[in-house]
Symmetry: C2
Subunit: 214 residues, 2 copies
């Protein structure tokens, strides 16, 4: 006995419409009316589900963070135990996981685009400050975790400073995302992957060196 409207589905519909508007027009021109129109809803209906513009914006950003977070978690579980893989595959798997954050297809491109707009807005908009910070910390936790796991299974060069390498790899991912979104004609997805693989290769133990796994 389903209710004729599912509020959660409605909110998702609105959020998806908002994402499309942000991607197409930029956050600056993403007004309530534009989102309502994109969702083919009356602005009155939209406001029935979101009390204010700020509510909608926060909900949308939180939704995106949740989606990315659960996708990453899923990917981590799919990989399973890293220690029992051969070393080249370890690096490949790590790259595949981190590439979830790169705009390599239209879906991730849209995510990164919206994410960038939200984060730049968050700099001067207190309403998003906590979400932006939480996202930045989450990204660093992921990167650090990838690095420590690689290191634990002996894939990495000895003597690396984890703090510095975490910031370095995070900056690399952020910079690649930024360029790929803002200047796709300069940096295409294949080059992004090349750079990421090169970086991980540089961090890895030289071929022939025995790892210290276990």
């Amino acid at each position: 006995m389903p209710k004729h409207v599912d509020p959660d589905a409605r909110r998702r519909l609105v959020v998806d419409a908002l994402f499309r508007v942000v991607v197409r027009e930029g956050l600056q021109r993403t007004s309530l009316r534009a989102v309502a129109s994109e969702a083919q809803l009356n602005i009155g209906s939209l406001r029935h589900y979101f009390a204010s513009q700020q509510d909608l914006m926060r909900f949308a950003m939180q939704s995106m963070l949740d989606r990315v977070g659960s996708r990453l978690l899923e990917h981590v579980e799919r990989i399973g135990d890293l220690g029992r893989r051969p070393r080249p595959e370890q690096l490949q798997l790590a790259a595949g996981l981190l590439a979830e954050l790169l705009p390599l297809d239209e879906h991730r491109r849209a995510e990164v685009t919206v994410f960038l707009d939200f984060n730049t807005a968050a700099r001067t908009s207190p309403a998003f400050g906590d979400l932006s910070r939480q996202a930045a910390e989450g990204e660093r936790r992921l990167v650090r975790r990838v690095l420590t796991r690689l290191d634990a299974s002996g894939a990495l060069r000895p003597g690396l400073d984890t703090d510095v390498e975490t910031e370095r790899l995070t900056a690399l991912l952020d910079g690649l995302s930024l360029s790929a979104v803002l200047h796709p004609e300069i940096l295409n997805p294949r080059e992004c992957v090349d750079v990421l693989l090169t970086h991980l290769g540089d961090l890895s133990r030289p071929d022939g060196t025995p790892g210290s796994a276990h």
Copy 2:
């Protein structure tokens, strides 16, 4: 016999006011009235020097690109010939030059902040598209030039792919700038420099290996 007002000085004054507003409020809230108020000018006066908002915005971004460009040029000349320096100093000098692009002090932080806001806006605003692209290409030219000069003086590991390394270092710089501007509590200037030096160190020829310079 000085004229009572110097139009160029007036424009510079307005542009500086615009930068302050963008840094403080974000590009979204940077209206003509806000800039005029910040410059302590009447909006009518402001519009006497800039025909339209778009004119002002373009002029401001172009001004910033010019300033950064000439500062980089000056720094390059100050360094002079790289070949006749000892290798550790070569890396240090390269890092110092590239660090002109990082938000390490308040002045550069303001620049990078404005630059970021302009570039995200440029994604969906055709008026800034060309300037944004030109800046991205300029940054890559600089990075590539630094890398090839280091390589020519024998400071770099052999076998590096210049295209990939250019994108890698560019992404690293962009990512560091992004994080340092959006999350200064997570990434401070010292860490930025650490990461940059670590990266250049990784690219450099291992100690004890004779360089191929001259």
